[in-house]
């Protein structure tokens, strides 16, 4: 066998292995989740009761779906303007200047901070601050988790959109300037339209990261299994309830937790697909 063929086989097996693993994951998730869906049917998704007490067990995923979406959207909402302005700062206003290099290094550094450290910082610093402001009596809840999540996802949104903005052809920008456009007009009429599919892709990536984040959220959301009542209410997310209850679960509870994992998988896939659709649509224009 020549090296050409060997390389091909190695690459082929490696990618096949990934397919098998992904397929196996979906298969075992579905298999594990079946008892819960069999037992509760569609009610599993729409019921708000999560009661693991033996004797009157009942499981509904809606509080966790709501908690996940609330915190993630809040995080995206907070992260969006910050990430957008940071990437403009780095890629346009102070392009290749020292301050931009320093700033982007620090933003990238944020991505390397372990989740538990964000959680601890949120727990010991941010939470007492929120109590101090009188926003909530104990500081746990959707707002605190969303804020931490926002800080966690900013680097993901920023670095990719910075790359994309840098890639906008200089000729286009120069042409706009030569026509007398101001910097702001260049940004909103040349850079953003050119880079928008990439920028949106970076936000979707960041959103996906917020959906699955576990440790920091568990420490800050309050872990109460109800639909959050407002911005400062406590709740729980899908990833967090799995992390909390998986070890001790058995029977129907275990199956319900796996079903939540499957739903999280589905939601993430759906959002990715939606993101791809938007990108395709914007790119075609």
């Amino acid at each position: 066998m020549n090296s050409e063929k060997i390389t091909k086989y190695i690459l082929f097996s490696a990618s096949l292995l990934i397919l098998i693993i992904a397929g196996g994951m979906v298969y075992s998730l579905i298999r594990g989740a079946m008892p819960a869906f069999d037992f509760f049917g569609w009610k599993f998704i729409f019921s708000t009761h999560w009661d693991p007490t033996q004797g009157h067990e009942q499981y509904g995923a809606l509080p966790f779906i709501a908690g996940t979406l609330f915190t993630s959207f809040l995080a995206l909402l907070i992260a969006l303007p910050m990430a957008f302005s940071t990437s403009l700062f780095v890629a346009e206003y102070f392009r290749k200047k020292r301050i931009a290099v320093v700033l982007s290094t620090f933003v990238d550094l944020l991505a390397g901070v372990p989740s538990i450290v964000y959680g601890l910082w949120g727990f010991y610093t941010l939470r007492p601050f929120i109590v101090e402001l009188g926003l909530s009596p104990q500081g746990f809840g959707i707002f605190t988790s969303g804020l931490i999540l926002a800080i966690m996802i900013i680097p993901y949104a920023t670095s990719l959109s910075t790359e994309i903005i840098t890639m906008v052809p200089n000729e286009l920008k120069e042409a706009a300037y030569s026509l007398g456009a101001t910097r702001m007009e260049v940004i909103f009429n040349v850079i953003v339209p050119n880079a928008r599919s990439g920028i949106i892709a970076s936000y979707i990536l960041a959103f996906g990261r917020a959906l699955g984040e576990t440790m920091a959220v568990t420490m800050l959301i309050g872990n109460s299994n109800n639909i959050p009542n407002g911005l400062f209410g406590t709740g729980n997310t899908m990833a967090s309830v799995i992390a909390n209850q998986f070890a001790e679960a058995s029977g129907l509870q275990l199956s319900s937790l796996i079903a939540i994992g499957l739903l999280l998988f589905a939601i993430t896939a759906l959002i990715n697909a939606f993101g791809k659709y938007i990108i395709k649509k914007l790119a075609a224009r």
């Binding site: 086989y9 033996q54 104990q138 420490m219 001790e248 058995s250």
Partner: protein, 348 residues
């Protein structure tokens, strides 16, 4: 050609998967309760040099321990809640269970300037049902003369993960409050009417210490080690009792049924702290399964016969667990002698 490639790739992948050869391990392994892990680890560390038998223990949670034993991937499982008839029936073979030590659940709180409070069952149930929501409630003043309670909202903290500690605590609440029994019940995790959840004893203790006005329940082994301030509880006989190893031991003094399934919450002993419970170990009654050797079964029994002995129980005290009363040790030894290999008892 295409299909040939596919098969070749598949063969590579499968051979990679199949290479995890089953090793003939000579060490004993167990998994389960995190509550009891410090005791087991310390005791196993003493057992190994004395006998040459290696023991590994994974604190993956009681539910996980039961699952692992069911899948026959461990030699023993450890659980803070005993198996009921239904759970026993779900096991692939007959399982025996016996207690190895006990512990308690203490009520930790955070009120600046107040180091000791007294709680009654009614007040505790009221707090956790969400009926008593402020520390200035007259319910507190009644039993705590001289203590100045602040006008501060109560932040109720519970365990967000499934836990034997929760099982003991909710079992107690079910015994003392009919409303709790009807609305919530007891289990390793329940649907909490009020409060916020935190993960593990450190999570609950940390949340309480960082939140003024918080109250929560913490495993005694953790509270004693960390010197957390906790409440005295009114017991069934009408005495306010501080949780100590002696008062927890008093709770376990009552008669133990031969199947060891007993919850020792709300003990009527006058010296007993009311929120206490045992932790159990589970073994298959017939040890010849999965091609296990007689040696492995003997080693396993040797381990647990020693774990309930005086030597090992003394280690339990060192790490703030409560040792078994003599009557329970005798019962455990009897249970261990019912375990067989090919139908013959292993221990004489």
């Amino acid at each position: 050609m295409k299909t040939k490639n596919l098969f070749l790739s598949l063969a590579v992948v499968l051979s990679a998967l199949g290479s995890s050869v089953k090793g003939q391990s000579v060490t004993l392994s167990g998994a389960g309760s995190t509550f009891v892990m410090p005791f087991y680890n310390m005791a196993f560390n003493k057992f190994t040099p004395e006998t040459g038998i290696k023991v590994t223990y994974g604190g993956i949670g009681s539910g996980g321990g039961i699952r692992s034993l069911k899948d026959k991937v461990v030699d023993f499982g450890a659980s803070d809640a005993y198996l009921d008839d239904k759970q026993m029936d779900e096991m692939p073979a007959k399982v025996v269970q016996f207690p190895t030590c006990s512990g308690a659940v203490v009520m930790a709180f955070n009120l600046p300037g107040i180091s000791e409070i007294k709680l009654t069952p009614a007040v505790l149930a009221g707090i956790y049902l969400g009926q008593i929501t402020n520390w200035n409630s007259p319910m507190f003043k009644k039993f705590n003369p001289g203590v100045k309670f602040p006008d501060k909202a109560i932040t109720v903290v519970y365990r967000s993960d499934g836990s034997g500690t929760t099982n003991i605590f909710t079992n107690y609440l079910s015994k003392i409050s009919p409303m709790w029994k009807e609305k919530v019940g007891f289990s390793t995790s329940v649907k909490w009417p009020a409060g916020i959840g935190a993960k593990g004893n450190p999570g609950v203790a940390g949340t309480i210490s960082q939140t003024i006005g918080a109250i929560g329940y913490v495993g005694s082994e953790y509270a004693f080690a960390e010197k957390i301030s906790y409440a005295l509880m009114l017991n069934k006989s009408g005495y306010f009792i501080k949780p100590t190893i002696a008062s927890i031991a008093a709770a376990g003094k009552g008669t133990m049924p031969t199947d060891t399934r007993v919850m020792i919450t709300n003990s009527s002993d006058r010296e007993a702290y009311p929120i206490a419970g045992f932790t159990w170990v589970l073994l298959y009654k017939e040890q010849n399964y999965n091609k296990r050797s007689l040696k492995q079964a003997e080693d396993l029994l040797k381990l647990w016969d020693w774990m309930v002995s005086k030597d090992a129980q003394a280690i339990a005290v060192k790490v703030n667990y409560t040792p078994l009363p003599a009557s329970v040790v005798a019962l455990d030894k009897k249970i261990l002698r019912t375990i067989t290999y090919n139908g013959k008892p292993i221990l004489k």
